[in-house]
C-alpha cells in the first residue's frame, strides 16, 4: 500500500514535469506563429486648425469634442477689412483696364508721327536727287561758259544741303519709331492687379474656416472675440476618416513581417471586441540610444551591460472596419500578427 502511494507520487511528479515541458513547447510555437504585443496604441491623423488670415474671430460654430463633417464652417474671422482690400484691388484693376484704350490711342499717335517722319525722308530724298541732277546738268555747261560759276556753286550747295536735310530726316524718323510705346507694361500691370484681386478674394473666402476632413474637435478653449493669428493653431481636428494602430514589435520579430499580413486587434477598452486589420508598413528606424554626436564627436557610453533589451520598431496596422465608439488616439490595444 505504501509502495503504491509512493509510485503514484512519483507518477504525479513525472507527469507534471512532462506536461510542463510539452505545454511550454506548444505555447512557444503558438507565440512564434502569432507574434503579439501590448506596446501598441490607436493613431489617427490630426489637423492643427490655424487660419490663413489674421483677424478677430466673430463666430465659433463648433464646441470642444464635437464631430464635424468635411466642409463645415468652424469659425469666422471678421471679414470687413478683407472686403475693403477686395474693393481696393477691384478698383485698381478697373483703373488699369480703363487706361488700356488711352494707351492704344497714344500708341496710334506715335505710330502716325513715325510714319510722317518716313514721308519726310522720302521728300528729302527727292530733293537731294533733284539737286544732284541739277548739279550734273550745270557742270558741263559751266565748262562751256553757258552758266556762271555762281550758279554751279549754288547747285553744289543745294546738293549738300539736301544731303544734310535727308540725314536729319532719317534721324528724326528713327527717333520717332523708337519713341513708339508698347502696351506690354500696362498689360503686365493688369495681370498683377488681377492677381492681387484674386488674392483678396481668396483672403475674404478664407475668413470662413472650414473643416478639411470629417473629424472630432479637440483642444478648443477659445471663444468669439479671440484674435486669430495667421498660421497659429487654435485647436485640433482628429481626422476620423482613417484609423490605424502603431504596434511596437521587437527587432527580432520585424523581419518576419511584410505589408498585407492579417492582424487581430484587441482594444483594451472593450477586450471582447476583436478588430481586423492588416500590416500597412514597417517602421524604418527609431532614435538610437547611443551614437549621437556631441561637439562633433560620437558619444559612446561606457557600460558593462550583459543583457541587452531588444529594440522595438513601430509597425503600422490599418484597421479594416474600426468601430467609431472605440477609436481614440492613444487608446491601448494588443496587436497580434497572423503569419
Amino acid at each position: 500500500m505504501v509502495s503504491s502511494k509512493k509510485m503514484t507520487g512519483y507518477a504525479f511528479l513525472v507527469t507534471s514535469l512532462l506536461l510542463c515541458v510539452l505545454f511550454a513547447v506548444v505555447a512557444t510555437c503558438l507565440v512564434e506563429r502569432s507574434p503579439r504585443t501590448d506596446d501598441a496604441f490607436i493613431q489617427a491623423n490630426i489637423v492643427n486648425m490655424a487660419p490663413e488670415v489674421s483677424g478677430r474671430i466673430i463666430t465659433i460654430n463648433v464646441r470642444d469634442n464635437q464631430f464635424v463633417h468635411r466642409g463645415d464652417t468652424l469659425f469666422v474671422i471678421d471679414p470687413e477689412p478683407f472686403r475693403y482690400a477686395l474693393d481696393q484691388a477691384q478698383a485698381n484693376l478697373d483703373n488699369l483696364k480703363a487706361d488700356l484704350p488711352l494707351q492704344h490711342l497714344q500708341i496710334g499717335s506715335q505710330v502716325a508721327t513715325a510714319e510722317a517722319q518716313g514721308s519726310s525722308v522720302e521728300q528729302m530724298q527727292a530733293q537731294l536727287a533733284l539737286a544732284q541732277s541739277t548739279e550734273a546738268r550745270l557742270a558741263p555747261l559751266a565748262r562751256q561758259g553757258f552758266v556762271t560759276a555762281q550758279q554751279l556753286d549754288q547747285a553744289r550747295s543745294n546738293v549738300k544741303t539736301s544731303s544734310a536735310a535727308l540725314e536729319q530726316a532719317i534721324h528724326s524718323q528713327n527717333a520717332a519709331m523708337k519713341s513708339v510705346r508698347d502696351d506690354k507694361p500696362l498689360r503686365a500691370q493688369i495681370v498683377g492687379a488681377a492677381a492681387q484681386l484674386a488674392a483678396a478674394q481668396r483672403d475674404l473666402r478664407l475668413t470662413e474656416v472650414k473643416a478639411p476632413c470629417d473629424g472630432q474637435i479637440t483642444g478648443l478653449n477659445i471663444a468669439a472675440g479671440e484674435y486669430a493669428a495667421e498660421g497659429k493653431a487654435l485647436f485640433t481636428i482628429i481626422d476620423t476618416e482613417h484609423w490605424w494602430v502603431i504596434a511596437n514589435f521587437r527587432e527580432t520579430q520585424v523581419p518576419d513581417f511584410h505589408p498585407g499580413q492579417n492582424a487581430i486587434i484587441h482594444v483594451l477598452a472593450r477586450p471582447n471586441v476583436v478588430l481586423r486589420g492588416h500590416v500597412e508598413s514597417l517602421g524604418g528606424g527609431v532614435q538610437p540610444d547611443v551614437g549621437s554626436l556631441t561637439n562633433g564627436l560620437p558619444q559612446v557610453a561606457r557600460n558593462l551591460n550583459w543583457v541587452r533589451i531588444a529594440q522595438r520598431y513601430p509597425i503600422r496596422i490599418s484597421l479594416d472596419q474600426p468601430p467609431p465608439e472605440l477609436m481614440r488616439i492613444g487608446a491601448t490595444v494588443v496587436a497580434t500578427i497572423q503569419r
Binding site: 502511494k5 509512493k6 503514484t8 507520487g9 512519483y10 504525479f12 511528479l13 507534471s16 514535469l17 506536461l19 510542463c20 505545454f23 511550454a24 506548444v26 505555447a27 503558438l30 507565440v31 502569432s34 503579439r36 501590448d38 484587441h266 483594451l268 477586450p271 471582447n272 476583436v274 491601448t332 494588443v334 497580434t336
Partner: protein, 91 residues
C-alpha cells in the same frame, strides 16, 4: 483550525472565479485600472489550483507521498498555468 484554512481557500476560489468570469480572449487583461498580461493571470490561477490541490491531497493524507514537494508542486502549477495560457491564446 483546518476549517479556517478551508474557508480561506473557498474565499480565494470565489475571488478567482470572479476574476476569470470577467476574462476574454484578449492577450492582456484589465484589473483594477491596470493592464496585466494573460500569462500572469494564468500563473495566478495555476498557483491557486496547485495550492488547492495540495490542500485536497493533505485532506486525503496523500501529500506525504509526493516526492520532492517543491519541484512537484512547481511543475504542477506551471503545467496548469501553461495549459490555461495555451487555451487562452489558442482561441
Amino acid at each position: 483550525m483546518y476549517l479556517i484554512k478551508t474557508n480561506n481557500i473557498n474565499k480565494m476560489a470565489i475571488l478567482i472565479c470572479l476574476f476569470v468570469a470577467g476574462c476574454n480572449t484578449s492577450p492582456t487583461q484589465e484589473l483594477f485600472g491596470s493592464f496585466f498580461p494573460s500569462w500572469l493571470v494564468c500563473a495566478f490561477v495555476g498557483a491557486s489550483v496547485a495550492a488547492l490541490t495540495r490542500i485536497i491531497f493533505s485532506a486525503f493524507d496523500f501529500d506525504d507521498a509526493i516526492p520532492l514537494p517543491m519541484l512537484s508542486w512547481l511543475a504542477f502549477g506551471t503545467a496548469v498555468t501553461l495549459a490555461l495560457w495555451i487555451i487562452w491564446i489558442g482561441i
